[in-house]
């Protein structure tokens, strides 16, 4: 059994220069500890390896039932010079939501 980030949280991507930040916000605070354990920067780096060179930092925001992932070298050099269609990386939150996590208890959202 596995669970997707999508099942437990919502997300939004923002941009500054060549850095993308992606919030991951639990629908229910009870899933925060699970995400803290499983949605590690390493796991996120694997999901983004073909998009971003990194590094990737994770900031916990328990007060907001959330995490903030800061992903460097993610936007093709930055909004002003990127050749990408989605120069702001607005769609990158959906890469985060698609990440699959082990769900040993078989309990979904």
């Amino acid at each position: 059994m596995s669970v997707r980030v999508y099942d437990l949280a919502h997300a939004r991507a923002g941009d500054k220069g060549n850095t993308s930040n992606i919030s991951v916000i639990c629908y229910d605070a009870k899933h925060w500890d699970f995400l803290e354990r499983e949605l590690t920067p390493e796991r996120v780096a694997t999901a983004f390896q073909h998009i971003a060179k990194g590094p990737i930092r994770r900031f916990p925001l328990r007060n907001l039932k959330a995490f903030n992932f800061v992903i460097e070298n993610a936007l093709g050099g930055g909004v002003t010079v990127s050749l990408a269609q989605d120069i702001h990386g607005k769609s990158l939150s959906n890469v985060m939501l698609a990440i699959e996590l082990p769900d040993p208890d078989g309990k979904r959202g």
Binding site: R12, L61, L64, V70, V79, V81, A84, L92
Partner: protein, 450 residues
């Protein structure tokens, strides 16, 4: 209902291309005291500097005309003061344009307080050794191509402009949350030493600065995060009390939603370290903020903290960095992807034979891998749109990408359809430096009669 001692600050635009009508709705039925239009993206000032170099009357945000024409009558009638960075690269020119709009609307002599001093191009010209934040190289590396250099000014000088009493305040580059914090400083006389209040005001500004992004825009997901009447999102406002109390609300009877979920997404948006979000006014810490639903479409913000402002301004340096050329064409049906890939090879070979080179080149299969890459992992769609893009300092090389892609109609694999016109755009790149505040001289001048 607006609390008795509260000042209500509305958000009228969060980008130069933002919708116009929701700002009018706020002015007409939002019971607001201030309407703030944030209209400058990173490279807007550079672009407007180029407009100004062609015509010295221009250089402000072109949308200034349509925005003011729409909201000025309601704002003047309801005593709502306007604060905006639509002055872009020419705040004085913007002020003259704003005054003309007011006169043409029959509103008479409307004074505009103009914030100047963000343009620091002459200062940084002589400081080639300043380090670029993005890559650690000296400013010298881009100085020859520099188009503009603008400091992100803070709320203090915008507050000074409000102190003149002018109904409209126009600036160039000012940090987005500072535009919203300024009316609070003006109304409540908050000191920069009172970091808790500065923090609350800055957090409110950050929540408001993208307008509908806190009222259900950039949020909805069918069945998962539904948004009522998404086609009619209302713009938000903050009710601010003298003690630093903040409640975010939105235009009554508008579409969209405003709740803890929408506020949380916007609060973290474009933040890096949540304990150190640097603005010209403070170093904001959102890690203790609590968001509480007080009533329908009303969310209370509490617990923002901050450290005092830093001794530097962030300066955006815009510079010309060549061209981006693009072409697109579609393939459908059997072997659509194989034909699109072959087409891309044909274009690349044509460009190579003409001797064109590119600093960066990219092939996208729209419908498959243009957003998240990894085409080998995706199922083949029925139809696909090939996109080719390259960056170069040779305008002809940039144009050739779209030219050769369009020519696939005649010369490429079978069944190419719907190629677009060749597209070429100037690259206005932006990097930044930190400049000590004592090298910058923010000031206010008033156009018109007070």
């Amino acid at each position: 209902m607006k609390p008795e001692n509260a000042v209500r600050i509305g958000a009228g635009a969060g980008t130069s291309d933002d919708r116009l009508v929701p700002a009018l709705e706020l002015a007409e039925r939002g019971d607001i005291d201030y309407l703030v239009f944030e209209c400058l993206a990173e490279r807007t000032v550079s672009r407007e500097n180029l407009s100004r170099s062609k015509n010295p009357d221009l250089g402000y945000a072109p949308s200034l005309h349509s925005r003011l024409r729409m909201v000025l009558p309601a704002c003047i009638k309801n005593g709502i003061r306007i604060v905006s960075n639509m002055g872009a690269a020419n705040p004085l020119g913007g002020a003259r344009a704003a005054r003309k709009e007011a006169a043409d609307l029959g509103l008479g002599d409307v004074a505009v307080a103009v914030v100047l001093g963000d343009d620091v191009s002459s200062v940084v010209q002589h400081r080639a050794g300043l380090m670029l934040i993005e890559n650690g190289e000296p400013l010298e590396s881009i100085l020859p191509k520099m188009i503009s250099a603008n400091a992100y000014l803070g709320a203090d000088v915008v507050c000074e402009a409000l102190n003149t009493g002018a109904p409209i305040v126009l600036s160039g580059r000012v940090a987005d949350p500072s535009l919203f914090l300024a009316p609070m400083l003006h109304e409540f006389d908050w000191s920069y030493d009172d970091t808790a209040k500065i923090a609350q005001g800055t957090a409110a500004g950050h929540l408001l600065e993208c307008t509908a992004s806190v009222t259900g825009g950039c949020f909805g997901w069918p069945g998962k995060k539904d948004v009522p009447d998404l086609a009619n999102n209302g713009y938000p406002f903050a009710d601010v009390t003298p003690d630093g109390g903040i409640v975010i609300g939105k235009t009554p009877d508008s579409g969209g939603r405003l709740d803890v979920m929408t506020c949380t997404e916007q609060l973290i948006y474009e933040i890096h370290d949540p304990t150190a979000y640097i603005t010209p006014d403070c170093v904001l810490d959102i890690s203790g903020i609590a968001l509480t639903q007080e009533a329908a479409d009303r969310v209370r913000v509490s617990g923002a903290r901050a450290k005092p402002r830093t001794p530097t301004y962030k300066v955006n340096v815009g510079y010309a960095d060549g061209y981006i050329g693009e072409g697109e064409v579609s393939y459908g049906g059997i072997d659509a992807v194989a034909r699109a890939k072959w087409a891309a090879e044909v274009v690349k070979e044509r460009l190579r034979r003409q001797g064109f080179t590119y600093d960066d080149f990219r092939m996208d299969l729209i419908g498959m891998s243009s957003l998240h890459g990894e085409p080998e992992k995706r199922p083949e769609p029925y139809e696909v749109r090939l996109r080719l893009a390259g960056r170069t300092h040779d305008r002809k090389a940039a144009h050739a990408i779209g030219f050769e892609t369009r020519a696939l109609h005649m010369h490429g694999p079978g069944g190419a359809g719907g190629a677009c016109e060749p597209r070429v755009r100037d690259v206005l790149a932006v990097k930044s430096v930190l400049l000590p505040k004592n090298m910058v001289n923010p000031q206010v001048v008033v156009e018109g009669t007070l």
